[in-house]
Symmetry: C2
DNA sequence: TCCATAATGAAAATGATTATAAGTTATGAC
DNA sequence: GTCATAACTTATAATCATTTTCATTATGGA
């Protein structure tokens, strides 16, 4: 993980959202800004635990929930197994590959993510989640190669 | 719960999907065909437990998972808390009201549910889930009435 | 620096779901 | 019909992500 964002910027960001810039919060936010792979709380914990051996998984959960409440993060529940977290995203959709498990951002022109439509059937929309599941491009390619080499 | 579908039809449906038409399966399928309110496994268990006191929550889960595997049901994870089940649906989207908790079917013309698009960005799509969250029509109406009566 | 408040951390609790293992029922060959 | 086998059901225990509780510690203002 490369450090791209300065601590000062992270601190300012936290303060501007009404949050005290504690060490733990800075490191968690930094991790999420640098890692756009939709990690779980556990993954964040494992990574930060190396640098901050005293950090608790409870703090990870507390912090993530606080960040979501303040609008710094959004939660993705595409797997149905656990919550995955994403930094400050412009609204977009997601694809889950059933073969390799990777979660891929999908940017398509959708009236519900581009801000055109703010209601459906009279219901006021606050959040939109578009979840696609299937086989990703890379896994399709591997499959094709495999079949070819076997002359199937 | 009214009994609309005959046992014979339910039996036939189970058999045509390669499933033995046991009493428990018939009752679970019957419940889901008559109750389109996206129940949890727990809700189904509570309702059936009155008529079948020996039924086990494990059977509910086993059966629901079997039904999904065979394509009789689909799973909705919009709440992020628990799985909700839906009978044999034509693909459509869902709305979760954050105020009253109800889940509402949304039928809009979407290229991913009407069968027009079977891939995104080169990824092959097997499932599409459109989850909207916000305040439903009814709760909006109640809110407006409340404000008016208070002259806010 | 002192104090009130908020944040952190460890351990225990929760709750939905799954795994295990044992019992029961159905099915098909004989 | 009888028997063996497989399929289904059930109760219990296990799992695992997340939350709660509560004692300790850090933070920012006075």
């Amino acid at each position: 993980m490369k450090m791209i964002i300065s601590y000062d910027k992270l601190k300012t960001e936290l303060k501007s959202h009404g949050l005290k810039p504690t060490f733990q919060r800075i490191k968690i936010l930094e991790y999420l800004e640098n890692n756009k792979n939709h990690p779980t709380a556990e993954i964040i914990f494992d990574k930060l635990n190396h640098k901050i051996p005293t950090i608790s998984i409870t703090t990870i959960y507390n912090t993530l929930n606080t960040f979501i409440k303040k609008g710094l993060l959004s939660a993705i529940t595409i797997t149905g197994k656990e919550i995955r977290y994403e930094y400050n995203p412009l609204p977009h959709h997601h694809f889950l590959c059933k073969r390799c498990g990777s979660i891929i951002d999908i940017n398509i022109n959708c009236p519900f993510t581009n801000g055109t439509k703010k209601t459906v059937d009279g219901h006021k929309i606050d959040e939109v989640h578009g979840y696609f599941k299937g086989i990703c491009k890379d896994c399709l390619k591997k499959e094709a190669k495999h079949k070819k080499s076997k002359n199937v």
